[in-house]
């Protein structure tokens, strides 16, 4: 099974209607302020199923706050986030994950003391057993089906030769790959990626783009927050531009490239 097949495994039953891009995530009039500073104001956003939606904007635009609102880390002052018919607002991170939303963090968040294989098996167990399963006498080592799948996902993200290494021994780029594998094994309906190539060398960035493209080809919905325009324009189907906590533009990569507001606020004439 390829990464792309794994990514969409389990989403078919939802009935992806070809040619009719239906909404999978709806951010409805979200507002959030911190000590009087408006981090997000009147944010409305629709993400269609199967698309890769990039959220860009200068530093302090509110991109990460929006992502944190989506995963339950931050509760908005107003508005709601609706995913696949479920309101995410007010739900705990584990509940949101169980609904099918996985997240890759800006700084890689992995289980440093565990091996690469264990890192990937834990999310798989959580997907299978739910958010709590008290059975102290089921052998972790005996989970052969999950281990086989984990080994396959690990191989697909390029960590085959590190499978038994502790996660702490991996490079930053490899930790990002591991985190991606931890998300992919859950077959999420929506994958949120917060600067997935930050701090990577160019060849690692290109490898990550290829990996994400492979997932994209099979129709998994993704939201990417990214500063690197090369990554954004390589992957995004649609782009939302945030500035000062407000959406200033939305559209296809071509539309965004030619949007004067975006040129002014973020990209700069020369870059575009």
């Amino acid at each position: 099974m390829s990464v792309a097949e794994m990514a969409t495994h389990g989403t078919d039953e939802r009935g992806f209607r070809s040619g009719v891009p239906n909404k999978v995530l709806h951010v409805d009039d979200v507002h959030k302020s911190f000590a009087g500073l408006h981090a997000l104001s009147d944010v409305d956003l629709d993400v269609r199923q199967g698309e890769t939606h990039a959220i860009i904007g200068p530093n302090g635009a509110g991109k990460s706050t929006l992502l944190n609102v989506c995963v339950g880390r931050i509760k908005p002052d107003r508005g709601a986030v609706i995913f696949d018919g479920n309101t995410l607002t007010g739900k705990a991170p584990h509940e949101i994950n169980q609904l099918g939303v996985a997240r890759v963090f800006q700084t890689p968040e992995v289980f440093l003391d565990l091996s690469v294989l264990q890192n990937v098996m834990v999310p798989a167990l959580s997907k299978r057993d739910g958010y709590f399963n008290l059975n102290p006498f089921t052998a972790f080592a005996g989970e052969t089906a999950i281990r086989d799948e984990a080994e396959e996902v690990i191989a697909n993200v390029g960590l085959k030769y590190h499978i038994h290494s502790p996660a702490s021994s991996l490079s930053r780029g490899d930790k990002r790959r591991l985190e991606l594998a931890m998300c992919l094994i859950q077959h999420p309906k929506l994958l949120l990626l917060d600067e997935p190539t930050a701090g990577m060398a160019r060849h690692d960035t290109n490898a990550t783009i290829d990996l994400l493209k492979e997932i994209k080809e099979n129709g998994m919905t993704k939201i990417i927050i990214e500063h690197d325009m090369h990554v954004v324009f390589s992957l995004a189907d649609r782009i939302t531009v945030l500035a000062g906590g407000r959406i200033i533009a939305q559209g296809s990569p071509e539309e965004i490239k030619n949007n004067p507001k975006v040129k002014e606020a973020y990209l700069g004439e020369e870059q575009v």
């Binding site: 003391d113 997907k127 958010y131």
Partner: protein, 394 residues
């Protein structure tokens, strides 16, 4: 349940069981082969194994586990007073009561993590300790401690002066002299008492080993490693933590029960913060997160407590008898600080040395030693193999 363990785990369990059951012989050379001390090894080993399930696997440091030890002790003595001198109901009652108590404390304390969690557990334990001396004196018998008495002559006699032992009375068990806990007639003092504790220690070790190797254990390790990531992985960490806390509390209750079984008296001092601190020391000294470490730590501390605290000036003069008079006096004077009642100073020093030089405890020391021996051997064999061809050529 049995399939949780691999072949190497079974081997570890068998070796552990063999070592524990042969302690009465193997401890003879160091003068520790007497039942009282061996019982303490087993009981505190069990306490430390349970504590390690919480601290070693999840990283949550409780400073209040002595509360469960004390509750287990009281529950066992009440079982002796009300039901029977047979130890099985006492064990069951202690584990159940400690489990409920741990759930209540854990439910509240685990709303916080880190130092706040530690302080909350300490506060609960100290509250329990103080309550045992005040509000709960009808249950704990205050400073006198809860003791087993002969069956009372009439219903008018208060419980503190005479026991009921409904089951024993119903079965017509005859008591002669001071009642002693028993297992279907076998008295739980001396070596039978030790072997009873030893069997429970082995069972406790087996359960802890199974937990450590299970899916549940892996989730606990993941909590310790990165709780935030685990939450975003779809795991509700709080029920896992509460479960670990309760299991750990039940182990402490079992250990408390065994203290009362081997010596049927329960006092509030078992709930004091020093007792909570002691199990932390045992676990860290042996190696938190390892399976054997906490048992080793418990053994080492109980041995040092028994031995070093019994040393006095006379013994020290004998030890330094080869030195000339004034020098001998100086050394004895200095060493006196570390023995007898000053043995805590020895314990403190021992703890500091191990934490500074072996943060992973005794188990890390053994690992380093093994690595050194292995690398020494392999470098020796490399030297041999690299020199051999030259010798052959020569």
């Amino acid at each position: 349940m049995l399939r949780t363990l691999s072949r190497s785990d079974w081997l570890l369990l068998i070796v552990f069981a063999a070592v524990v059951l042969t302690l009465p012989w193997t401890m003879q050379p160091i003068g520790a082969a007497y039942p009282d001390l061996l019982q303490k090894f087993a009981i505190y080993g069990l306490f430390a194994i349970g504590f390690n399930i919480l601290f070693g696997l999840t990283g949550y440091l409780s400073f209040g586990h002595a509360a469960f030890l004390g509750v287990g002790s009281y529950a066992a003595v009440w079982s002796f007073k009300l039901l029977t001198m047979n130890v099985l109901p006492a064990l069951a009652l202690s584990v159940a009561v400690a489990g409920v108590f741990a759930f209540l404390i854990g439910y509240v304390s685990l709303r916080r993590s880190g130092i706040y969690f530690s302080i909350l557990t300490l506060a609960f334990a100290q509250m329990s300790y103080n309550l045992a001396y005040s509000v709960f004196t009808p249950i704990t018998n205050g400073e006198t401690g809860l003791q087993v008495r002969a069956i009372r002559a009439s219903a008018e006699t208060p419980l503190r002066d005479g026991d009921v032992r409904i089951i024993d009375q119903a079965l017509g068990v005859q008591e002669v002299g001071i009642p002693i806990s028993n297992l279907f007639g076998m008295k739980m003092s001396g070596y039978p008492g030790f072997y009873f504790c030893a069997v429970l220690l082995i069972i406790g070790f087996f359960i802890a080993l199974s937990i450590s190797r299970s899916n549940f254990g892996m989730m606990l390790k993941a909590i310790k490693s990165n709780q935030n990531r685990l939450k975003y992985t779809g795991v509700h960490t709080r029920p896992y933590l509460i479960a670990a806390f309760v299991i750990s509390g039940m182990y402490a209750g079992l250990a408390g029960s065994l203290l009362s079984i081997t010596d049927p008296i329960a006092g509030a001092e078992r709930m004091q913060w020093t007792a909570s601190g002691e199990v932390v020391l045992m676990t860290i000294l042996g190696g938190a997160g390892t399976l054997i470490g906490p048992v080793l730590g418990a053994g080492l501390i109980k041995y040092a407590e028994q031995k070093v605290s019994s040393w006095n000036e006379g013994i020290l003069h004998d030890a330094f008898s080869l030195l000339p008079g004034p020098v001998q006096d100086f050394f004895v004077e200095f060493a006196t600080l570390f023995v007898g009642e000053g043995w805590h100073l020895t314990l403190g020093l021992m703890f500091m040395i191990i934490v500074i030089f072996l943060p992973g405890g005794l188990m890390e020391g053994f690992r380093r030693l093994r690595r050194a021996l292995t690398s020494g051997r392999s470098s020796a064999s490399r030297t041999m193999s690299s020199t051999s061809p030259v010798q052959e050529r020569g």
